[in-house]
């Protein structure tokens, strides 16, 4: 029986199985020269790339970017942003405008005795917290503020400076050294402060920085 043929070429109308050509065995053409050149080039490039970037088979995922990692490590430490600390830790109670919530959370804005006054007071309040009755801008508050002693000296200094210089406040900067000095002097203190305690001379100042002018009353 002659092999059926494909009508694509010969034009017979026959059922599918009868119009097939047999699959011919593969040809035996030799690969062209340019193909060998391409193969060699790919292999050569692969060997070069591997040599250049294999990194002694180090497990370091950043091998390729070691210079960039080093560059980041050498940079000056970024100053703590007091505004950011305020947003994260203070704003919930004292509000973005520093006015607090009437009758519940005292304002920080224009709170002369407690915020913009002698530096020792706000530092102590932040380190250990505060409780009991206190008068702020003519209103009596009786709440409880937690201490933030777990923040480091730079963070406390930054957020206090931010508070003391925001809104209508315009008081001096507080430095990390001052915070460290108070933290050191009050190392045994665990209980929150009361208003009476903080209004004493001893608790208003920063030890070693006692040239601080007492501006209130």
């Amino acid at each position: 029986m002659p092999e059926p043929s494909d009508p694509l070429n010969e034009g017979a109308r026959r059922p599918p199985l009868d119009r097939e050509r047999p699959l011919e065995p593969e040809g035996m053409e030799a690969p062209p020269m340019w193909l060998w050149v391409t193969i060699f080039a790919a292999a050569f490039f692969g060997a070069y790339y591997m040599g250049a970037y294999v990194g002694d088979f180090s497990a370091d995922p950043h091998y390729m970017y070691r210079d960039r990692v080093a560059a980041v490590a050498d940079e000056e430490p970024v100053a703590v942003d007091g505004g950011q600390v305020y947003t994260q830790r203070c704003q919930t109670c004292h509000q973005a405008d520093g006015e607090g919530v009437s009758g519940v959370f005292p304002p920080l804005n224009r709170a002369e005795q407690w915020v913009t006054g002698p530096e020792g007071r706000p530092i102590r309040i932040l380190l250990h917290g505060m409780e009991g009755e206190m008068e702020v801008r003519g209103n009596i508050y009786n709440g409880q503020m937690p201490g933030f002693g777990r923040l480091d000296d730079e963070e406390i200094a930054a957020v206090l400076t931010h508070i003391r210089q925001s809104w209508d406040n315009d008081a001096s900067e507080i430095t990390a050294d001052q915070v460290a000095a108070v933290r050191d002097a009050e190392a045994d203190r665990t209980a929150p402060w009361t208003a009476d305690e903080l209004l004493t001379e001893e608790r208003s100042t920063v030890p070693g920085f006692d040239d601080t002018p007492v501006a209130d009353e």
């Binding site: 029986m1 043929s5 494909d6 009508p7 694509l8 070429n9 010969e10 034009g11 017979a12 109308r13 026959r14 059922p15 599918p16 199985l17 119009r19 097939e20 050509r21 699959l23 011919e24 065995p25 593969e26 040809g27 035996m28 053409e29 030799a30 690969p31 062209p32 193909l35 391409t38 193969i39 790919a42 292999a43 490039f45 692969g46 790339y49 591997m50 970037y53 294999v54 990194g55 002694d56 088979f57 180090s58 497990a59 370091d60 995922p61 950043h62 091998y63 390729m64």
Partner: protein
């Protein structure tokens, strides 16, 4: 080919009887039809899921009332139905037919494959519902619950048993190149699935194994079947031998040696040791070799037969697929480089590339194969060349729009993400027109799939007019059609 005396005796003993094609085709008829029909069902399910996911990029507030229709569930369901439903099941049908034809022996225990189709479909239904219900493993390309893969591995094993039996009873001496690819895929595919299903990975090692798996499912399971089909149908329909046996050998073994290493280029910039990524980039570049070799072999065979390519539905789809294979592979080698990934990693660019591979190559080759196989299995012609033509142009233009849009949109997105003065949202808004184009391309493809589904339904149930002769895109020349394409 040089044949020794022993070989020629052997060959004589193995020579298949006359009319073997009828016998062979009849033995694989229902298993192959079942695989192809099931795959096409999942193609349509996957297309609907794809459109849902695509439109959500244009209208993020659309269909968010049900958790099951949110992007995070629809998108993995699309991927899984397409890979393990459409491409794998239809691919299994096509490879079974090629296997039988090339070994010239009929399939025994064909009912095992029917059992496999049933089990596989049950696994797909469970997996897809599980994904939509929120039970995703959240591992890209492997989102189905673990036990679904175990069922699928079992289904593949059951379906492969009759194939190994056929290999034992083959009636050919020389194993054609398509057989190498299919045989290799039958080992590689389950090996990949089993290896990645082992509960031994954690952390960075898991990510590394994940991309090894995901890339190889494309390269060592889907690609070999696509190449096997192209190696068979191009010379078969044109009636001309494959250009070079030497190139076939070279292409097969370089694919086998190189592809396995390529997956880790997905971890550029990630926490994996960079030497692994470097080696992966090296082998991604080395993949140029098998790709150029296979391209040369296919295109030299088809070269000069433009008329046949234009006229035969099978050839038109398969040559489109073979050209896409060359394109997607060379693009992939380039995309593996670190300097390029700095722009395109984590953008839509990669999605465009993935569809160029799985759709423009693998899916189009499967369509072409089915146009050849089905009339032989059912003894019935396709009902309309106009519908096949429409199927070709909707899918070809659809995937063309899709790939062009995401390739460009992805680069713009990547450049904007790198621009430190631009906001994240600017990088999203810049992709907006390109994502509209993607949705339109996807809609065109889906229309094509519905047409294809209708054609398949018609030919399986022998609906439509009883035609004589093949359905080609132009009338067959009756008289003196000097075979310009055959010479």
């Amino acid at each position: 080919m040089s044949t020794t005396a022993a070989a020629s005796v052997e060959e004589k003993k193995m020579r298949p009887p006359e009319g073997w094609r009828e016998e062979v085709d009849a033995s694989v008829r229902w298993p192959v039809i079942a695989f192809i029909a099931s795959g096409t069902f999942w193609l349509i399910v996957g297309s609907v899921l794809a459109l849902l996911a695509s439109f959500k990029f244009n209208h993020p507030e659309w269909l968010v009332e049900q958790a099951s229709l949110t992007f995070g569930r629809v998108r993995p369901a699309h991927l899984q139905t397409m890979i393990f439903g459409w491409v794998s099941m239809t691919g299994f049908g096509v490879l079974t037919w090629l296997w039988a034809r090339l070994l010239k022996t009929k399939m025994r225990f064909g009912w095992l494959q029917l059992v496999s189709v049933a089990v596989w479909n049950v696994a797909m239904v469970i997996g897809t519902i599980a994904l939509l219900a929120g039970f995703s493993r959240s591992i890209e390309w492997v989102e189905f619950p673990l036990f679904v893969y175990i069922i699928i591995i079992g289904a593949i094993a059951i379906a492969a048993l009759p194939l190994f039996e056929m290999l034992r009873r083959r009636r050919v001496h020389h194993l054609y190149v398509s057989i190498w690819y299919i045989g290799a895929a039958l080992l590689w595919g389950p090996f990949l699935l089993i290896t990645f299903s082992l509960p031994i990975y954690e952390g960075v090692a898991h990510a590394t194994a994940n991309w090894w798996f995901a890339h190889n499912i494309l390269g060592l399971w889907i690609t070999p079947v696509g190449l096997a089909a192209a190696y068979y149908f191009i010379p078969k329909v044109i009636g001309r031998p494959i250009y070079s046996y030497h190139l076939s050998i070279l292409g097969f073994w370089t694919l086998a040696l190189f592809y396995n290493w390529a997956g880790l280029h997905h971890l550029v910039g990630g926490p994996a040791p960079q030497w692994g990524v470097t080696i992966s980039i090296v082998f991604s570049v080395m993949m140029v070799i098998p790709v150029v070799v296979v391209a040369l072999n296919h295109h030299m065979t088809a070269f000069g037969s433009l008329k046949a390519v234009l006229r035969s539905p099978t050839l038109r789809f398969i040559v489109f697929g073979a050209m896409s294979y060359t394109a997607v592979s060379l693009q992939g080698s380039f995309m593996s480089f670190r300097f390029w990934q700095e722009i395109t990693h984590f953008t839509h660019h990669t999605v465009g590339h993935a569809h160029l591979g799985v759709y423009a190559f693998a899916t189009m080759v499967l369509f072409g194969s089915i146009y050849y196989i089905m009339p032989r299995l059912t003894q019935w012609e396709w009902r309309s060349s106009r519908l096949i033509n429409l199927h070709f142009w909707t899918t070809a233009l659809g995937i063309g729009m899709y790939v062009v849009a995401l390739t460009i949109g992805g680069i713009l997105q990547g450049m904007t993400l790198l621009d430190t003065s631009a906001t994240f949202m600017e990088a999203q808004f810049i992709t907006e027109p390109w994502l509209y184009a993607r949705s339109i391309g996807g809609t065109l493809m889906t229309v094509g799939h519905l047409i294809f589904g209708y054609l398949l339904y018609s030919i399986i149930l022998k609906k439509g007019p009883e035609l004589e002769g093949p359905v080609y895109f132009a009338p067959v020349l009756r008289s003196g059609a000097s075979s310009s394409s055959a010479s």
